[in-house]
Assembly symmetry: C2
Homo-oligomer: 209 residues x 2
Amino acid sequence: MSSETKIPDATIERVALYLRPLEKLMEKRNQVVSSEKLAEMCKVNPAQVRKDLSFFGGFGVRGVGYEVHDLLIEIKKILASDREWRLGIVGLDDMGMALLYHKNFLKRGYKFVAAFDSDPQKVGKKLPIGLVVQPVTKIKQLVKDLDIEIGVITTSPSRAQDIADIYFEAGILAILNFSPIQLRTPECCLVQNVDFTLNLDHLAYKLSQ
Amino acid sequence: MSSETKIPDATIERVALYLRPLEKLMEKRNQVVSSEKLAEMCKVNPAQVRKDLSFFGGFGVRGVGYEVHDLLIEIKKILASDREWRLGIVGLDDMGMALLYHKNFLKRGYKFVAAFDSDPQKVGKKLPIGLVVQPVTKIKQLVKDLDIEIGVITTSPSRAQDIADIYFEAGILAILNFSPIQLRTPECCLVQNVDFTLNLDHLAYKLSQ
DNA sequence: GTCAGATTGTGAATTATTGCACATAAAAGG
DNA sequence: CCTTTTATGTGCAATAATTCACAATCTGAC
């Protein structure tokens, strides 16, 4: 299928989802996987898997399935996850620290290259991952100097918009926002919000049905 | 609209999203809000807001808008978020701790009533929120004794399935899984997975476009 | 070399979601 | 009390996403 076709957001989301099972299959030394198997592992429909993948080209072999290794590489290429992405983070309370130490990020090429906090007590402290805590006043400069592409926000909601504005001004490309507010953002900057409470709300709703 | 109509999942997700802006409007002492304003705050379409809300009944007043306070109450009722939900958590590394200390949960009625870890070093320690760390061997008993309804999993992926199985056996109603694996689950138990890497993958994809 | 079995890729049918557009109703002003 | 303004609730059309179903094609066995 041509790369000109508009690819549904939902497809992108699922394609990213396929990575984990594929990594697991790699570990288990499975050379090949069928759409049926992969679908089962992700709890989706096999036709969906095939259609999703066919948006990006025919990676499979009829009668056989998909080469696990090749598919993994292809999907990473599709997602631009086949390279390192440089992250900064602002707000080093519990959640910020948990993200900094989270090993899955680095495994997938998401690398924290700077960590900021407004608390003078924290500034200057050396973190186990080798970074030194920087004051928020340095965000603008360091985003540029260190080529930070994605900015993570784990501050309190009251500070989140100010931090976002500094990120924007510094020319950041995207923001991953853990603060429970809707950020006002310029067109050019992508934002993804993360809010676990929404997951719990959804569970609560379904449980009450 | 009748409560018999099948309500789209997407609607539930959005309705939960409306809570934060409404809380903000409450703080700002706004009595009334229009679908247009609310839509703008959530970056959705005004007609969507009206349709979403109309699934549950006509909460608005034509020519006026929606009473902020009443709508907040109604949505909480809809989501069954108008009461306390009792949570347990297994895996008290950084992420587990960050969730335990996360104030937003409690504000919304999600209350951790037990915390478990398999590390004997951690078991018995008193946590600032007033809980004592329990060994994983006690999960089954305490889920029953303390009426734990939702089980959070923040263990390493290698342990996540075992912990889930213990939760299921104890009769837990739902699971919030932060471990990057797809859990095998009985029909009766709801699962929501949380994986930030997927958010980053999505950003990476869009940035590469 | 042919046939049986397996599994992809995709057009078409189905199902779900979104958003327009307008009838409806409340409020405010004169 | 009538008119204007505002903003909801909703039928319907348009759009989008999912799933079916089957032709295409590869593998391996005999």
